[in-house]
Subunit: 658 residues, 2 copies
């Protein structure tokens, strides 16, 4: 839908004329002024209405917060709703010097994600998953996965910093991530089939040598860490598992994973074989995976897993024997699997089928109990009979991908090929909330363009709040200035507070800093972030006082052999010490504490020649270690404009040559 | 100024009541709906007016573009005005995987910034400088400096990509950057005093051993590169040079650099000496540097420079003898030096003096001609008599830093301590444009909080356009959600189209992804970016067809000894080849060409285990080289959601172990 300036101008002109008389009534800043300003910029009344719904004046806070994956930027982006302003980027898998991340801060966390001992300093973040209590976001933790190297990160929402990175010991790529309803587990689903353990194999025996998996990473909320020793995996066939969503309420105890490439296509276009794009889409259906994770946990605890590459893996045979894993047909090349708020329905969209397919949790349980199988796959996994588990199919449009839920019985599905968001009605208990009949397409709002995922406020929890939906569009084409051939993506905010066809796009937010995959949207008041660290000398990694943190009055430089320790305090507008002399080849351990207690009084610590950038937030202590291998004079300085004498906040590192 | 909900609500309620009768006239989407929506969110009529001035509906383009330094993010941020939306981040000094920057794209450019052979993979970007023709932006090139490692980068505004990084061979840190009026030179001013050549010295003979400099980097517009062989430097005393601005029109041929620490303070707080913050602010005045660059260029061309560390440097003695360099007193601890549009006035703000000090270009020239010196500094550089060169002093408020110019005779100065933007009148020719008397403070608009630089549209050119000014605030404190203890900065958009006291803040943009230092704002229609690369097989680094670019139908994998070359084409939704087999230890040269010609049809090339991320824009060719040292199976895939079969766009890199 292109913005059409001519009719719009007419509309505003007409209403300005109608309102002209009011100028006198309304005083100095009148609605007539508003309309004049709008007219001058070619805005319609609809545009002004959208502006009134989104414009957020100085000091007014946003009501909701988007935690968005940054896609292959490797980061997480925090965005306010409805203003659609980027409040912060959280460095996760990619070094980021403003936060000091990987430049002196968090280097050890990043190193947890090394592959074969080598740094892989980026990620392809896909599925942010907020921690949940009773199936709803609690605002405490955020998890996010890296598709490219199959890693998972843990972010603490007290300080919005990454605390842990885990590397999948089995498979090389992943796609989905979710949490179980009380964050017992963070669940990671693999993507492309590979030999387990990052090992070598050729493609000719793909079916035998390659595998997929789902990992249940045990989360310890008190420690704020995933505990690998209490985590386990299920071996899966080398289909390409994709999204994972956890059951809740009616489906509590299950997780659902869709998959593509049940054809086991192996490509080979250079050898005149069908390319993956053809081979992977041959079958009419693919296979939805249904995992009984509570049973799986019991099997794991009872010793039913086998150690593979240092990690406990429940073999496919065991999953079959113990009734942990079932399949059922799903529309081919699916991308979305989304559990409805009551846990009673599971919505799957196959992008080559214009319908969403809705499964019933009750029917699935019954089919499992009754062994209502239509057969089994090549690995012997039972396939639940499609007709026995399906509840409804709703034709929504071309290229359906993902589904989110409103507060009132509507579901929303992104349509990649239609470039639209479909609003449709759920049935069952939900049907009472909507004026339209159950299981019916209600409306499609065009989006610009090529929507992938979509996100609604608490839209994948037991308690969706409605109000807003964001369409995460992959292409923007003509929406924004072209900043060279690499265009921004487009997050479009849609007002879903109305019913029926009333769901207008009210804001376009260009995303020119990554290609977000999925995002979750939480009520801002559920977040309880710290504005400063609790005490001076705080170690954010351990979230407690660091007994080694330099203290005021105890600043010094000490030497033991070729190891120099710097004990530095940092406060407006002074580094103490401001001279540090070392010898070439020395190991330098530079400890620093911010003595600040004022909100926003952040200092940076920048050192030339040594690739060091630290962000020191009020109270924070950081330790940087390096070998002083480059001789010379290196003025270190505060890189955050902290005070009128900020430029004077500096010192000299002198490295005496050998 | 906190947002005050109660009076605001009253205001809207009143006008809604007044407008209530209109609902019927205005139809389905009426101004009454607008007001109802505003009222529901607590917006005042003034807020709605600001919304009408800034809200930019889907498909409407921004009129102006901000090129903002990213501060210690090391990047450049591109922001639309008046919508204040981040359109793109340009990777410059810091690797960024969405753009592939440093992960397969531009690795050679980043390596140009190595220090002592080691990567320094971040920057503290300070002063973006758009290329100019006749003293006004021409929209072709952007230059930006890195303070921490004293580097300068060249960005091509056809594709918004960094093409070159240069390391200052003399000093370790820099601060200012500007261009001469026809971009003959990109001028870099050093910051902290250091021994030349990144060499070692202690602090005890600072005056003798340490130095500052200004480098004139010759820019070749046809090549699109700085040519180090035609560049030169002037040796300067080890004061801390800061901002540099080029003269134009009446001051054409000169550049102006302010400085602090003319005290030559050397710190030593750990030895009970005064810290830098005290030592640097002892004197009542510091010294403005005035350089006749056209004369200096002639001296350099005539062989008057001496080679130091491989770079031609004009010694201080030569500068004195040839009349290239003069000083004059300026208010202490200055941070801004800004040349007025006609080049006739130079405005300096000393942050510890409530005045701006205005120098006259004519008076400076006359004082130079007449040798009206009040003496010389310790290095023998003549100091022009203050009273002979000053035109006016205007009291503007506490902590004045930087000045920008409007279209109508107003100047605007940021006040760090007051947290405000001062509007004041220029005299001379400019005086006719303003109703107020010359050289007078007109108004102060409070900003939230602690403004550093400010930027107006073409506000530092010969042709400022007025309309908008942005206050680059360093602290946001209570303006936005606290995303942990590291808060966003706040770019506040101010409407300066009015006169007198009419200059309201109309938008707050959180900057939670860096700490921008300075920014320039250009008319969007002056930019002529490419939407796709001109032809298939385009090498963006050379900006021409790469004869080695893989071609459709010629895809293959070749081997010579232990070197494997991959010739791959990339198009929706296929990599060809999709199997690449190598042996552990092989050198892999992976060439790839995007065959796409559609705008926005971007592909990513992601390889696990090898830290490789490439962005392939339509037509682009990229070559990635690596040693296949980690054995295993690595599914490579397209990381930009390019089509419905995007997930199927993948292949397998198989590295056979030895």
């Amino acid at each position: 839908m292109k913005h059409a300036p001519i009719p719009i101008r007419t509309a505003v002109a007409a209403s300005v004329a109608a309102l002209g008389l009011l100028a006198g009534h309304a005083g100095a800043q009148s609605m007539a002024d508003v309309q004049k300003a709008a007219q001058a910029r070619g805005l319609s009344t609809a545009d002004l209405l959208a502006a009134a719904k989104t414009y957020t004046p100085s000091g007014m806070k946003d009501e909701f917060v988007i935690f968005s994956s940054g896609g292959h930027s490797g980061q997480v982006h925090v965005i306010g709703v409805p203003s659609m302003r980027l409040i912060r980027t959280i460095a996760v898998f990619t070094p980021e010097p403003w936060q000091g991340w990987g430049y002196g801060v968090g280097n050890d966390v990043l190193a947890q994600g090394n592959v074969a001992g080598k740094p892989n300093l980026w990620g392809d973040t896909h599925h942010p998953a907020l921690s949940e209590t009773n199936g709803d976001y609690d605002g405490e933790w955020l998890f996010i996965n890296d598709k490219v190297n199959s890693r998972v990160a843990v972010i603490d929402l007290r300080d919005f910093e990454t605390k842990q990175i885990l590397k999948n010991p089995l498979t090389v790529s992943n796609h989905g991530l979710c949490v179980t309803p009380n964050t017992e587990y963070v669940v990671e689903s693999s993507q492309y089939g590979v030999p387990f353990g990052w090992e070598y194999a050729t493609m000719d025996k793909y079916k035998e040598t390659h595998r997929g998996c789902v990992i249940f990473w045990k989360f310890d909320r008190k420690q704020g860490r995933i505990v690998p020793g209490e985590s386990f995996a299920l071996e899966l066939p080398p289909y390409w598992q994709d999204i994972v969503d956890a059951g809740k309420l009616a489906s509590d105890g299950f997780i659902f994973i869709n998959s593509l490439n049940t054809e086991l296509a192996t490509g080979g276009v250079q050898d005149k074989k069908p390319p993956f794009e053809a081979g992977v889409s041959r079958n009419a259906t693919d296979l939805l995976h249904i995992v009984d994770w509570k049973k799986a946990e019991a099997v794991f605890r009872a010793g039913g897993a086998k150690e593979q590459f240092g990690f406990p893996v429940i073999p496919i045979e065991t999953s079959i024997a113990e009734g942990l894993l079932y399949l059922t047909p799903e529309p081919r090349s699916p991308h979305g699997v989304d559990v409805a708020p009551r846990g009673d329905f599971i919505v799957v969209a196959g992008k080559l089928d214009p319908h969403v397919t809705v499964y019933s949790a009750e029917k699935i349980k019954r089919a499992i109990a009754n062994k209502t199988y239509s057969g089994s796959d090549d690995y012997g996994i039972p396939i639940l009979e499609f007709d026995a588990v399906v509840e409804a199919r709703v034709e929504v449009g071309l290229g359906p991908l993902h589904t989110q839920f409103g507060s009132d019985g509507y579901a929303y599905t992104s349509l990649f090929l239609d470039s639209a968001i479909a609003r449709w009605t759920l049935g069952g208990e939900y049907g009472k909330g909507t004026p339209e009949p159950d299981w019916t397409l209600v409306h499609k709002t065009p989006v610009q363009y090529n929507v992938g995922h979509l996100g609604a406020v608490h839209g994948d929890t037991v308690n969706p709040l409605g109000r807003y939906l964001v369409s995460f569009n992959k292409w923007s084409v003509d929406r924004f200035l072209h900043p060279g051939p690499l265009l921004a993506q487009n997050f479009q905010l849609i007002d879903i507070s109305g019913q029926g066809a009333n769901m207008p796009v009210i804001y376009d937010m260009p995303i020119g800093f990554g290609e977000p995959h999925y995002a979750q949207i939480i009520r801002a008041d559920l977040l309880k972030p710290w504005s400063i660290y609790p005490e001076v000398g705080w170690d954010p990694h351990k979230q407690r006082i660091d007994p080694m943190a330099p203290k005021k009055g105890m600043e010094r430089v000490t030497r033991e052999g070729s190891t120099v320790e710097v004990w530095m305090t940092v406060v407006r507008s002074q580094f103490n010490p401001d001279h540090v002399k070392v010898k070439q080849g020395d190991t330098v351990i530079w400890r620093m504490t911010s003595l600040e207690r004022a909100v926003d009084a952040v200092h940076g610590f920048a050192v030339p020649g040594y690739n060091i950038a630290v962000s020191l937030e009020p109270g924070e202590t950081v330790t940087v270690e390096f070998i002083a291998d480059t001789p010379g004079v290196f003025p270190y300085y505060c890189s955050e404009f902290c005070s009128a004498l900020h430029l004077e906040m500096m010192g000299y590192l002198m490295v005496e040559p050998n």
